[in-house]
Symmetry: C2
Subunit: 196 residues, 2 copies
């Protein structure tokens, strides 16, 4: 974009963000340097701080700054239920529904053989150990309803069943507020099969 | 996304980037912390370095780390031509054509009354002073062909003409490689009027 090394380095670094191409990176760099150096400084500090301080909860694997996350430390939560999700964002979505009071296990990924992500990368041996703590009775699989999420749920479900625990999966069906005419056929088929 | 303060701060800071919403910011933060802490560190360092070292060329106003940018310091450039562009990215696009050997003046913005950006914010008084250096004979207006870019070009052209210098504007016309059938009518009309 211009002849300065600092600027070229910044554009390259911004291009490293997921979903950001060269044009967006240039626009971001221009915007930050021209109108918003305070934001740039804040972002630099926030990045450094997060990289230095954010680690994984020793119990559920989610992001936390302490040894254990607030959810795992909360005595009011039901220790017999363990909900398995792919990411902290998914965990947060379930929390916002205010309908679940159990604990979580965050995989921090999903099985994805094509990307070379196997059972070890998503901590399945750690999950196996976690569910054997003597408290957990039901494992709720809340991985995404994508091909990879379903495969991950299948592998985990096989593993947990061998340990003699109850395994459930989030219900598939027609989303709230939707009209059947506009719902895809696969979803309607699942809703029919899982009718209650 | 999770209960850590460092993470929430990072998501907020990423959301400050142009074109990044809350979902993208969460995805970026997750990606950086889970798989790519090295990139996060590089980005933090690049931001800090750019904010500390990048400033404006005293002559043409573009981004540079020195008092004057490389283009303004280049003795081989034609000092009688001055090309006025909105941003360093536009300057870079013209440079890549390898057809212009004059100097530049980078407005670092455009007139935009609705956003409160007036002549002072894009350095028009500095431009006035710049073109009066005794060398410049022709000012080439290469602001964008948007409503705001055209208005900016108009204001500058009025200003420069009063100083008795030649003012030209990039030609409007049909883009190279395009078929008339698919070119918008305004462009064809301009190409007709400006035919040569």
């Amino acid at each position: 974009m211009a002849d300065t090394h600092a600027l070229a380095t910044l554009v390259q670094a911004l291009k490293g963000l997921p979903g950001v191409g060269i044009k967006s990176a240039q626009r971001m760099a221009f915007q930050l340097l021209q109108n918003d150096r305070a934001t740039a400084r804040q972002l630099a500090a926030a990045l450094q701080n997060a990289v230095d301080n954010v680690r994984h909860c020793a119990c559920c694997h989610t992001f936390t700054e302490a040894e254990l996350c607030d959810t795992c430390l909360d005595d009011a939560r039901d220790r017999t239920q363990l909900c398995v999700v792919e990411t902290p964002a998914d965990q947060s979505a379930i929390e916002r529904t205010d309908t679940y009071r159990g604990l979580y296990f965050v995989l921090m990924g999903k099985l994805s053989p094509l990307d070379g992500i196997g059972p070890h990368d998503i901590g399945l041996s750690k999950l196996k150990q976690r569910v054997g703590d003597g408290w957990v009775r039901e494992v709720i699989l809340a991985t995404n309803f994508t091909a990879e999420g379903e495969a991950t749920a299948h592998v985990i479900s096989e593993m947990i069943r061998q340990q003699g625990l109850q395994v459930t999966r989030l219900a598939r069906g027609v989303p709230a507020g939707s009209e059947l005419e506009y719902v895809d056929l696969g979803t309607i088929a699942h809703a029919l099969v899982d009718r209650r």
